[in-house]
């Protein structure tokens, strides 16, 4: 799922001011990569949670599986790339590349620290198993 989403985001951001990294957002010298490498989008590893969706008497319960992926992008808060709104929209639009789900959603939050603004994208993909 991560590779599919990352591939679609790479396609969607081609020609923009933002690059897409294939790496995980690991720390380098005590600093996360997306903070160190501005204007580079990083996608974290998949997180999975399962919860009971329908209980049955014979214990063949139906479960709801939610896969969450967090993406990070840091840019200069004062001088954001001119196409930033398009970049955000194109990252969000990439969630439709994941199929065979019953619900895809994206939440975008921002956080400013010093002169950087970090966009955090939380992708949620829900399937029934």
């Amino acid at each position: 799922m991560r590779s599919t989403l990352l591939s679609q985001i790479t396609t969607n951001l081609a020609g923009s001011n933002v690059s897409v990294s294939q790496e995980l957002p690991w720390n380098s010298g005590g600093q996360v990569l997306y903070s160190k490498n501005k204007k580079h989008f990083y996608l974290d590893e998949e997180q999975e949670s399962r919860e009971e969706f329908i209980k049955t008497l014979d214990k063949n319960d139906v479960e709801q599986k939610t896969i969450t992926l967090n993406g990070y992008l840091t840019v200069d808060a004062k001088n954001q790339p001119g196409d930033m709104s398009n970049v955000v929209a194109n990252i969000i639009a990439a969630n439709s590349s994941i199929t065979t789900t019953i619900d895809n959603s994206v939440d975008v939050t921002t956080e400013i620290e010093d002169d950087d603004i970090t966009y955090t994208f939380e992708f949620n993909f829900i399937t029934i198993i």
Binding site: L57, D58, N60
Partner: protein, 162 residues
């Protein structure tokens, strides 16, 4: 006093077959269709009542009439149980599934155990017709679920698994 619960291994079980011998709820029996994925099951034994008033009485009188017997349940749709597995088994209910039995108006025999399939479990048996199938799905509940009603022909017979 002995409360009957549905903890693991002691769940309510409904087995259907096209003959009384096939609808066998005993542990190890494989001749009938064990209805899978039931969410709930209700056994109805509703005695009919005829009420009448007389001039010399201040309250209605009542007499009983034959009971309406019914088994109703809701289940997550299992493709094999609902549509059948096709020809090949020894039982029509397994072959044609719940939908086939309903559509073809096949008489089905049933055994419904209260407390699992092991010895000592109380169960009802009888025969009837499958009715009330209404599979439904929507995006808030994206799994097919259907009610099932067995309109019982005659009476329930109570027994205990040996």
């Amino acid at each position: 006093m002995a409360v009957i619960n549905v903890s693991a291994g002691n769940e309510a079980v409904l087995v259907l077959g096209d003959a009384a011998a096939n609808a066998n709820v005993a542990s190890g029996a494989t001749t009938g269709l064990v209805v899978p994925n039931m969410q709930d099951i209700t056994i109805n034994n509703s005695t009919g009542i005829f009420r009448f008033k007389t001039l010399d009485n201040t309250a209605e009188s009542a007499v009983t009439t034959p009971a309406t017997n019914q088994i109703s349940l809701n289940a997550v749709v299992d493709a094999n149980a609902f549509f059948g597995t096709g020809a090949g088994s020894i039982d029509t209910v397994i072959d044609t599934g719940l939908f086939g039995c309903s559509k073809n108006k096949t008489k089905v025999f049933f055994e419904v155990a209260f407390d699992g399939r092991d010895s000592g479990s109380k169960y009802f048996k009888g025969s009837g017709f499958i009715s009330g199938l209404a599979p439904t799905v929507n995006m808030d509940s994206p799994v097919w679920i259907t009610p099932v009603t067995i309109e019982v022909d005659g009476d329930f017979t109570e027994a205990v698994l040996s």
